[in-house]
Symmetry: C2
Subunit: 202 residues, 2 copies
């Protein structure tokens, strides 16, 4: 027995391809769209359908930018510190650091982390592009801001050999107990890591 | 500080109008769409954008149907029982009953429940359309399948006065302990209701 007309079935199928959207959520979203004015559905449909035509990856750092705005606003910003590059896994990580409002340097999107399990090899990452940016000697520091996972560590270790020939400082963000958290709920690995990476109290 | 290019911001704004989609989910969906092939985004965008042009409410029962398929397949089905009408709140409730595969009668979508709080008055519901369907004397039973809430009961009570002049049986689905549930976890109101509506064991 078919429960839905064809057009609705097609919409449900497409919606279910989104991450975290199962049959129930898809149905809720579809009926919501049907209840709201047609203009809303048209606007959402257009925003989704044209997103690939309007956006691209910045040719320098790899973050998301408007097609007519490449290199991106961060790479082109005259007030930002062009001497520091923060290396992140994905384009959406850029927004996480931008949100803090405290980082004023450049970014470099790797496009993934080395992973034997997921078949991600060095040539799949934007490593040559990073090395290229170090060529003119303007950059003085590269900060790794990758996830504290096996893949993250492997990626940093692998990339070090490409960075050491250049006369730059290579750092990574501090891993430890999150600010505002309760020690009772912090996992053992994080605690051990935080103990090991302890600092002088000044 | 702006974190995203304009086109991406527009997409995030539109996505956040969907029920249950906050800033984080919107961002996850948007970056998923950007990572997947452009064809996927175009297909989803088209399915969403054209949904109002392709679907309509059945002119008889009010459920969702293709524009070129009105009255809907259920209302037009020769094998279904045209003498019984199941009254539901919304168009998506039809699919819930169709999924069971045991109901073979007709439906009538009210389009809401009476509610002083949400300013839903009798004239906002498809009550005259239901009374109209009873006119030719073919229908012998009307089953109310509304949510067991204050609004649901109020709607049934109000509608009874419109149905009693017709010589039909008026019933409502059984409310009680769900099949397969553990009595420990059933709330008190449901238990009291189940006790009161007890049946003879035959």
């Amino acid at each position: 027995m078919r429960y839905f007309p064809d057009s609705l079935m097609r919409l449900l199928t497409e919606l279910q391809k989104l991450p975290g959207v199962g049959p129930k959520t898809a149905q809720r979203l579809a009926f919501h769209l049907l209840k709201e004015p047609a203009e809303d559905a048209r606007r959402l449909g257009a925003a989704i359908g044209t997103i690939h035509e309007k956006l691209t990856n910045c040719s320098i750092c790899g973050s998301i930018t408007e097609l007519h705005d490449d290199p991106c606003r961060i790479c082109e910003h005259p007030q930002r510190d062009h001497k520091v590059i923060c290396v992140v896994e994905d384009a959406d990580d850029v927004s996480i650091f931008e949100r803090t409002g405290t980082y004023t340097g450049m970014y470099h999107v790797l496009g993934g982390l080395l992973s034997a399990l997921n078949h991600v090899r060095p040539e799949d990452l934007r490593i040559p592009e990073l090395v290229n940016r170090l060529g003119d000697g303007e950059v003085t520091e590269v900060i790794f801001a990758l996830s504290p996972s096996v893949e993250g560590s492997a990626t940093v270790t692998y990339m070090l050999q490409h960075l050491t020939p250049h006369d730059i400082r290579v750092t990574q963000i501090a891993y430890g107990v999150p600010i505002g958290s309760d020690l009772d709920y912090v996992d053992d690995v994080t605690l051990s890591q935080a103990l090991e990476a302890r600092n002088e109290v000044t």
